[in-house]
Amino acid sequence: MIDLRSPVWTIFRKDGRELLRDRRALFINLLLPMLLYPVLLLFAVQVAQVTQVQPRQRPQLGLVGAPSTLRDRLEQAAQRTLPQLDGSPAVHAPLDATRALFEVRDLGADATQLGALAAELDWRSGDPKPGQAWKARVVASLRDRKLVQAVVMPAVSARTAPLLIVQDSAHGELFDVSGPVDRALARWRRDLVERELTRRGQPLALLDPIAVHTVGAATLAEAVRTHAAPMLPFVVLVLAVAAAMAPAVDLVAGERDRGTLEMLLSLPVRRRDLVIGKLLVVLASAVVAVVLNLLSLALTAGLLAGQLPALGSESPLAGILEVGLPALGLALVVLLPVVALVAAAGVALSGYAQSVKEAQMYLTPLMLVVTFTGLVAVVPHARPSLALDLIPVAGTLLALREALQSPSVPWLHLTVASLANAAAALVLVGWCAQMFDREAFRYPRLVRAGWGRFARFRRGEALPDGPEALLVFAVAVAGMTLGGGLLAEAPPWLLVTLPLVAFVALPALGHAWLGAYPLPALGVRWPGWAWLGAGVALAPVAVALSLGLGWLQAHLVDVHALEQAGAPVEKAVRALDDAGGIALQLLCLAVLPAVCEELLCRGTLLVGISRSLGRGWGVVLSALLFALLHQSPLRLAPQAMLGVVLAVMTLRSRSIAPAAVAHAGHNALLVVAHAQGWLPDG
């Protein structure tokens, strides 16, 4: 039993009343679309009628020396008398209006090799041989886009006459021309066969060994229902989503912008009740809008169906009429959880946004996601399954289409899909209730330090923390892995540099920008010459340590097996070794990795992990992650060791520059040593 005095209904009544009293919004959101349907559909019908009254200019076909039997068939196909062109140079004038030209020519020896001729000739720019003026004319006309298609037939009466069709495949009128030509040629071919059969005294029935008669067993209504059913749930969904967005924005972000939400939030009402009350208003207005819209659509379609039977039977609007009110009722009930989910998402985004303007920006992608997910309902042959049922929006729409199309209603799928949507909506309601209780929701412009405008619901100073840093690292690893796979065929230098810039440096810098973290706090600052000198001095020491550890590793584990497990990037490094000059190698393997990886590993990771777990863990974990980033088991231990050294240097100098110099020097020395053949393989 619904308690009408409960806070939820109190909120519902208050917000609903305000929505109803806002006459302008009511008119624009509810009444105007209803009025627009008849107007727009009448406009569409008028356009269709005008188009029918003025059919497209039928293409001209020109004939040069064609036999009378072909001429008859062409005239039938073109439904008019065709001009007989005489093939002389004077033919140019009438050719201007000709889109398809039939030329019967004595091609002499070429006739038997017409196929080969066609393959050899470049008809667009070909330079015809002397004595083939007709070809020059056809080529010129095609090139000038006057002619769409030329059919050239040899004059010789061979049993199987090769036939050459030259056409401008990019011409907009090609299908207008080729249709009648194809039909005429097919009829002509049959004429020739019939004449031959008659000449030999054979029955013409040989041409039609089977006779096919098709009888449609479905009624027109059933056929329309089958074709319109995929559209109905989708139309309802789109209408509902469109109708839910305006109140979702207004009741949360709008109220906050107007200053009325502060009053509401200072009252003794549970946030959950507040969210549900507002959600119910959004839901109710979406349902009312859908019903009114469909009513207007159906009335308009009915009106038009009376005037234009042809349009009526093919239109999805008539399908809505055919499917009938019970089906529509089912659609509305089944789609209710979907609309609730979308409304909840709208309310959530509206609350998350800082202003109405920002909320509207969020709702556009939301509408896109919902609409595209809903498109599953119009995919041919898609059937509901339990796995699909669990996908919000898509599962319900698919099950609903099945219910409308097939004689039995798939109750299991409808139920599971509805429950999945309802569960997702409840999760969003819970999240909204939590969000409504946070100060960042009440005063969104009160920017907390940290991820500023995007993570306003968190406390903290203007520095990243561990989870954030790990998220950036995850993005880098995912990007490096995917990028390595996608770029497998790319030049080695691109395979090495692009992932580094796109997935290592950019996420680190983007994260700093989004969080409004000052770059000096992430170590992007001048360390002084002394520290840069220390970085240079560290490089050979680091190389010695790397080689030592590599040597130790080679004796402890199966290096060959590790090498086999190397990532694509590793292979590219080797390819670069073989292909690139020393300068390219130094740039791709020393300088760029040093800058990009230091930004991520000694900038974001070291600072973030140190802030959450302390400097010790910051050094150890950032070094380990630095080693893992290279996705090379072979280099894991040396890289981890290098990471520790570089992290310590960064913490001491409070800058990533010395580490970048040492890193670049370390890599450069290895590149040079490798190029000189001083290093053993592997």
Binding site: P7, T10, E262, M263, S266, P268, E439, V447, A449, G450
Partner: protein, 244 residues
């Protein structure tokens, strides 16, 4: 008794960096009217929002009896009346609908709500415009309806943040008179204002804030009356800005 213990609140301003809006405030506010004054940016509004439970403190507590502003959200709001210059009322509702809505959210039966509404209507003179839409009311009328709304639940804690902002002299005087009528034996009323005369008219005690800290607190009468009071307040607020 409202108690503020070691209250801190900082936020990040992209232009100014970290702003310590409330920086270690310790206060014992007894029943009665306490005026809160300070220069722009001194942290008055942040302090009052912390007291109302609309902002979460970074550190410290706001307590009223056994209730904590940050932890006892709904129960805290049962005892709270909050009105700021930024608090707007739904423009398409009437004052009567608004008051009934507040009553319904408090969970009172209809007769009790109606009785409370009638009492506040008389107290603040809302009768002539009780059934007009709020959008059609003057700023003064709207603010009186707003004050009636905050008092409907007879709150123990009443927080008024510059309620006379934007009002003309007459409407402001009417509102100040209405605030004086808000006194109740156990009620703590925090009244934030920029106008010394208003503080003198409504308050027993005065708290002066400077850069998020309490610069002075005590009885209003201790600082004098009229022009003397205004001068004393200005002097105290300016003292910290001169620097060493």
């Amino acid at each position: 008794m409202l108690e503020l213990h070691d209250l801190h609140k900082a936020y990040f301003d992209p232009g100014r960096g970290v702003v310590r809006a409330v920086d270690g405030v310790d206060l014992q506010v007894p029943a009665g009217v306490t005026a809160v004054m300070g220069a722009n940016g001194a942290g008055k509004t942040t302090l009052l929002r912390l007291v109302a439970g609309l902002l979460d403190p970074d550190r410290g507590q706001v307590r009223l009896g056994d209730l904590d502003a940050a932890k006892d959200g709904e129960r805290w709001r049962q005892n709270l009346g909050y009105l700021a210059a930024t608090t707007r009322l739904p423009p398409l509702a009437t004052p009567r609908e608004l008051l009934r809505f507040v009553g319904a959210l408090h969970g009172w039966p209809s007769p009790e709500t109606d009785a409370r509404v009638a009492a506040r209507v008389d107290q603040f003179g809302l009768g002539p415009f009780l059934d007009q839409r709020i959008a059609t009311l003057s700023t003064g009328q709207t603010q009186r309806a707003n004050l009636a709304r905050t008092l409907l639940g007879d709150p123990t804690l009443l927080v008024l943040d510059e309620p006379t902002t934007g009002l003309d002299v007459l409407a402001a005087a009417q509102l100040v008179a209405a605030v004086q009528a808000c006194r109740a034996p156990d009620r703590v009323l925090l009244y934030c204002t920029h106008v010394p005369a208003e503080a003198e008219a409504v308050a027993d005690r005065l708290v002066l804030l400077r850069a998020g800290k309490v610069a002075w607190s005590g009885a209003v009468a201790d600082l004098g009356r009229g022009a003397d009071l205004a001068q004393a307040i200005a002097g105290l607020l300016a003292a910290g800005q001169e620097g060493p």
